[in-house]
Symmetry: C2
Subunit: 357 residues, 2 copies
């Protein structure tokens, strides 16, 4: 484990993005989005992914100089073609389009095709907060999840993020995979040689499993709810809605045809659309009631929930976004710890472009 400052990781990452041919503006935008994940403690989606992005670029699947553009629009909607750019660049573009639409029409909704992995959904949703807007972000992803009653993997972990501004209180920021546990949690257990709890994964025949390596053995992640009796059909529905809003609305590749993140995995055959899909929303709070009034009530909502009587062994009831915000405070003081395998990978990719970590 080595600890890096925000500035160290930022500078390194930005240079790598410049090295693969990104413009200065795009390298900066992508780096901000990527390191936000490390700062918020979502280590699986931060610089640990940088090597993967470079490999996708090497494989010709990421376009470092994309012509990102609106291909269809109405007063409150748009479809954006990401031109195979980094999702870390395409997503902020599309979210700005949603915010711009909301300024005029009250809300803005943007579906994106022909993109790539966009980092953490929460970062993009939170762009709306400073405009006194509610922000939403979701994305489809390569199929690792088996719907209820299925042994086949049909959906990605398809996260949903919703960011809602408050007044004195910190914003409400939900950001979660529509599975019981995100893939990053399996990776943590693999490193420790530990098992998963029941309800996270199933084996290739659809039987309950606790094997943290089961995805390498044709097993699958389970939708939020784990099994039918505990509501997995609801998690399956949520993941499906994310897939349809992100990819069927935009013309991206959906369901089992979503492009895989690892560059060595061959692309699915007969893809019904282009690249990954995302979906963004921005709703101006004052399109519903005066912004100050809304934010005062959000403060009241947050304060009341935070003061709910906690159950035994728990100090307090949390508000969505609390753990990530607390981690951000800690890491801005103490730096970002990276495990040795990630540091080694980053050094290797750095050598390729003569960039020192």
């Amino acid at each position: 484990m080595t600890v890096f400052s925000y500035e160290q990781l930022f500078s390194f990452t930005e240079k790598i993005f410049l090295s693969i041919g990104c413009s200065e503006a795009d390298a900066n935008i992508a780096t901000k989005a990527l390191i936000a994940a490390d700062m918020r403690g979502i280590d699986s989606h931060g610089v640990a992914r940088l090597t993967g992005y470079v490999r996708l670029w090497e494989a010709g699947r990421v376009n470092a100089k994309p012509d990102i553009r609106i291909v269809h629009e109405t007063p409150s909607t748009a479809v954006v073609d990401g031109d195979a750019g980094l999702g870390l660049v395409v997503a902020p573009f599309a979210m700005q389009v949603a915010i711009g639409k909301a300024k005029k029409a009250g809300t803005g909704w943007v579906s994106v095709r022909n993109s790539n992995h966009f980092g953490i959904a929460g970062y993009h949703a939170m762009m709306a907060l400073e405009q006194d807007m509610i922000g939403m972000a979701m994305t489809n992803a390569s199929a690792l999840v088996a719907p209820t009653f299925s042994v086949e993997r049909m959906l990605g972990t398809n996260p949903i993020a919703v960011a809602i501004p408050a007044k004195e209180q910190p914003a409400f920021v939900a950001d979660f995979a529509t599975t019981t546990a995100a893939n990053g949690k399996l990776e943590l257990l693999q490193r420790k040689n530990a098992e998963t709890p029941y309800g996270w994964v199933q084996d290739k025949e659809g039987h309950a499993s606790t094997d943290a390596n089961i995805l390498k053995k044709a097993g699958a992640l389970l939708p939020l709810g784990s099994d039918r009796e505990h509501g997995s059909h609801k998690g399956y529905a949520l993941g499906s809605i994310v897939d349809i809003f992100s990819a069927v609305l935009s013309g991206a590749s959906y369901g089992p045809w979503a492009p895989p993140f690892p560059a060595y995995v061959p692309m699915p055959e007969n893809m019904p659309g282009e690249g990954l899909g995302h979906f963004f929303g921005a709703m101006r709070v004052d399109a519903f009631r005066p912004a100050d009034e809304f934010k005062q009530h959000m403060d009241n909502w947050i304060t009341r929930f935070r003061s709910a009587k906690p159950s035994e062994g728990h100090e307090k009831v949390l508000i969505p976004g609390d753990p990530e915000r607390e981690m951000e405070i800690i890491r801005s003081k103490e730096g970002i710890p990276l495990v040795d395998s990630v540091v080694a990978e980053l050094k290797t990719v750095g050598q390729k472009f003569s960039v020192v970590l």
Copy 2:
């Protein structure tokens, strides 16, 4: 158990709504929304609730002649004040506003205050389908659900419905409570004197429980995910988003202050808003891509998911909405079975107004 035809229940229910003073148009609208639940097999939200609505009217909490009106709007948003009307009447009004906005601006989003229980969310979301729109409906409800780490009940079962049109295939219709199990499932188990599975409820100290009567003993329903290890913080976030979109955006009463459905339960003190809140959305499919193209891809999505390899003991993988649609076909042929206690209650309320079931 007695079996009734759709027409029998429709005629009886409509007469009851007329008897409490609803206009002919409103009685018709409310009856359609209510019986849709029975037809789709969601028995807890159909005519079984009629007696409850009448009691709310008797308690002065339902206004049979509401002046439902838009109190604020932008090109793509509106806030509707339900004037304490039946949710069964207020919700279709608000959904029509959303659809009207979508026709002009691409999408329409309506938050509703000062309403009451609106039946099943799916019915309202499905109103968008015939316009080639995606429909969304959600509502807050009185607090029965304990957030992760809480022993206090802070949220309702807060359902989310999303209806998405297809071409030859039937529409995708997700409609689910953001809890592991809806309250109606507990009621079924109570009647059978059966226990719940672990993960559905907790007792008043926050300990795991299998007691189907636990809500009467200050226990609570659990958010989708059941416990922290299985993602209950995600179900808690979803229920919170529904509460905030439905009630904080509109000025309805939120969180633990949402008004209770049973008329004998006293109203919470210091309510921060008026009545229950709902949230509706309509997105024109062709605000994103040509409607026919979208619907063809939805057919492809549905067909592919339905043909996913099923796990042992299951015939096929279902699409959200399949079970309810199949039930609707059966009940339109064979009628709607009602348990004796519901029939007795309906007969009693009928006698009050000289309406015969």
